[in-house]
């Protein structure tokens, strides 16, 4: 009996904590309650819970939840030191913002997750901002909305809009310039292919350009201050398709050939429009803004149409 007692007293709370920390080091992914129990079967549930709570409050242990249950993970020393000196609420808010990653989180969502009143939240956010732990980033989708994220994180593309936005403004001239450059590249390639007078298959294949080639060409041109990825170039090429100047085909490519994504490659080719501007738009009526109001005998009629008079004298 006494032996049992001695055993019980020898399980010092600090020892338990140290043991738990060692276990965490052993299993960097995190340990469940079951693991701690298996390791120290003589420790009672209450003592275990107390030890874990102490470690959590000090900030040395992280509590995570996965599909099976709760996981405990050792927090690295750096981040543990950061939030020292802040109280629990701040720590909670900080954690929520950290979880949001680089997409950032809105104040209302912080409120929902932490169940804290709005005034408290605002105070905490100001505090954290002054400590340079978080920052506010204006979203490009809704210009009044501000999202918060960790200070040293790069905001995600969906928030800032990516390469086409600079300071929340859509760079239309930049897009236009890129548009024209890509089109010129494809057009010159097509003309070179046509002038080469080889067999039609070879002609056609040489007028095709992969998205990788276009990307390289644009990078070498150096007209862009921002680094453009291949997806960016593909969105520009898509706008050219919608302009009717370019057509695209997808071919299967071997994995590993440069520029292939998931075993496919996109090829682009400059094309001509298949008809001339249609007859209807060669008349003033085709472009007339008051077409629907024009009737014989009214104020606006073919007989006294000013547009027609100008057009006839041309």
């Amino acid at each position: 009996m006494t032996e049992v007692k001695v055993k019980k007293e020898s399980t010092d709370p600090v020892d338990i904590e140290n043991r738990i920390k060692e276990l965490c080091l052993q299993f960097p992914h995190g340990i469940t309650d079951q693991v701690i129990q298996n390791d120290m079967p003589h420790v009672e549930v209450q003592q275990r819970a107390m030890a874990i709570n102490r470690l959590l409050s000090v900030g040395q242990l992280d509590l995570l939840k996965n599909s099976n249950g709760l996981l405990y993970r050792l927090k690295d020393a750096q981040s543990a030191s950061k939030v020292k000196g802040s109280d629990n609420q701040e720590k909670l808010v900080y954690q929520i913002i950290e979880d949001a990653g680089n997409k950032g989180i809105w104040t209302r969502d912080i409120r929902y997750k932490s169940n804290l009143p709005l005034t408290e939240i605002n105070k905490i956010l100001k505090n954290l901002e002054s400590k340079k732990l978080i920052k506010a980033v204006k979203s490009v989708a809704a210009s009044k909305k501000k999202v918060y994220m960790l200070y040293n994180l790069q905001p995600d593309r969906s928030v800032t809009g990516g390469a086409w936005y600079s300071d929340q403004d859509f760079e239309s001239e930049f897009v236009e310039v890129l548009n024209q450059q890509c089109f010129k590249f494809l057009q010159s390639k097509a003309e070179a292919a046509r002038d080469s007078k080889q067999s039609p298959m070879v002609q056609r294949n040489s007028s095709l350009a992969t998205s990788h080639e276009v990307w390289k060409y644009i990078c070498e041109l150096g007209i862009s201050k921002v680094d453009l990825s291949m997806e960016d170039i593909e969105t520009i090429l898509n706008t050219l398709i919608f302009d009717g100047k370019v057509e695209m085909t997808i071919i299967a490519a071997k994995e590993g050939t440069v520029g292939s994504v998931d075993g496919q490659m996109k090829l682009y080719r400059g094309v001509n429009p298949i008809i001339q501007p249609t007859g209807l738009v060669k008349t003033p009526c085709g472009l007339c803004p008051v077409f629907d109001d024009c009737h014989e005998g009214c104020e606006i009629s073919p007989s006294n149409c000013v547009y027609m008079a100008e057009w006839l004298d041309f």
């Binding site: 239309s172 969105t235 008809i275 007859g279």
Partner: protein, 534 residues
Amino acid sequence: MTAQEVRLCGLLLQEHFGNVVEKVGTHLIRSGVLTLRALAHETKLPLDLVKKSLCVLVQHGMCTFGAGRRGPAGPVEYRINCERVFHMLRYPRYIYTAKSLYGDTGELIVEEILQRGQMTMSSTVKTVADRLTHNMPEGQSMDYSEVVSAFSQLVETHFLQRCPLASAGSSSSGAVDTPLPVATQNFLVINSYDIYSTLSQGKRRRSSEDGEADQCAAKKARTDDSECGDDRIYWQVNFQRFHLHFRDQAIISAVSCKLDQSSSEIVRTMLRMSEVTTPAHAAFTQALSANEIFRALLSSYNIARPILDQYLSLLVDDPMEFVGKTGDSGGGMYVVNLHRALANLARATLESVVQERFGSRSARIFRLLLRKRHLEQKQVEDFAMIPAKEAKDMLYKLLSENLVQLQEIPKTPDYAPSRTFYLYTVNQLPTARLLLQHSYKTVGNLMERRLYETKENKRLLEKSQRIEAILASLQATGAEAAQLTEVEEMITVPERQQLESLRHHINKLDSSENQVDETIFLLKSYINSTQASR
């Protein structure tokens, strides 16, 4: 019948046939089907005038008659075929096509038949030969046989067809079904029996092989029909054939714009081979094997067999899908996708209208919606790479002009705006119909402007006509130069300028009517082809 179509029909009838026919025709279009009595009563015109107008319309194939609602015993009812009236807009194009294919002779033949509606072969040949002889220098005259050969060529390629015999009591619809093989056979039979087997020349007496010569000569002053023996065999223009020809031309020019000249020549060969074998509104031509195409290619194109195969596979791979491959026998069986080509042409027409009217960025949005079918506003902005404000403005403008439609998809049973998806979409067929009506209205506007311009300057035109008549008569009687210049000076210089500008205006309006007619043709073919394939 839409209001615009009725208006255009009225204008066309007035221009070609005059006020009375226009009144009768417009009233008949508006009412649908009417008996003679009802028509005379409602238009308040005398009965014989109504009868004559109906005769004119029937002669040209625009009006059809048949047993009415009371059955064969009741009075005959008349209805107008609006499509046929719209073909009058296209007469210059038909004549030009005949000229490019068969020369001046063909042009005059088609022109004569278009003017008269239906004619017998003999009268056509005579009139055309006389006209050509008239234009030739003195001493030469046009050989009948040349005209006959041109006529027979037109019939063999189905540009001219025989009118169906209208027997009493049977209801003949306005559309002429094509008794084409029969017509050719009968024609050949008539030809050998006809008097033209002997040499004949314009304005000369003709001799015939059979014993009717004396009778013919006697009746010559009266009618030409009965003496020629091809009485009651009337010929008319086969509009459908011309339309197929125009459609083929449009497809060939589209291929040459998109790919290159040689591909368009190959497509031209394919279409030529399947001209007479493909039914009118088919979606594909007959399947042709690569061997046949190679044999049919003219040697002037100088395309070797492997090159031809490459061109064909390029045509098949093209995203526009002009040509499709249906099998591998005979070196590959290929068809021309007529319906797909017409749809592409109609789509290009719609896109060009949006581009010219609203700008290239709106055209980008329009094409984007045509491709991707349904998109939310945010997605439109992202795909088109246009700033949000401008994209919104353009979308609403297109929406107000009915070129773009809005589709609501609710998330909740009450269509609460905050909980509904609003998707923008473009439907090609209804938009094509809308533009077709716009085109009809445009042509009506152009014609009215032309009539207005002529009316405004009527005084001046009459004066210039009088002066020309005086000049002509003076020249015929051999007047001196001084008298001629005196007469010419009766038209002052500003008046001359005004006349010149009037002529310029009228020509411009005329040519733009033809251009709008091209749009009408493309859109109408697309709509007909879609409806036929449904």
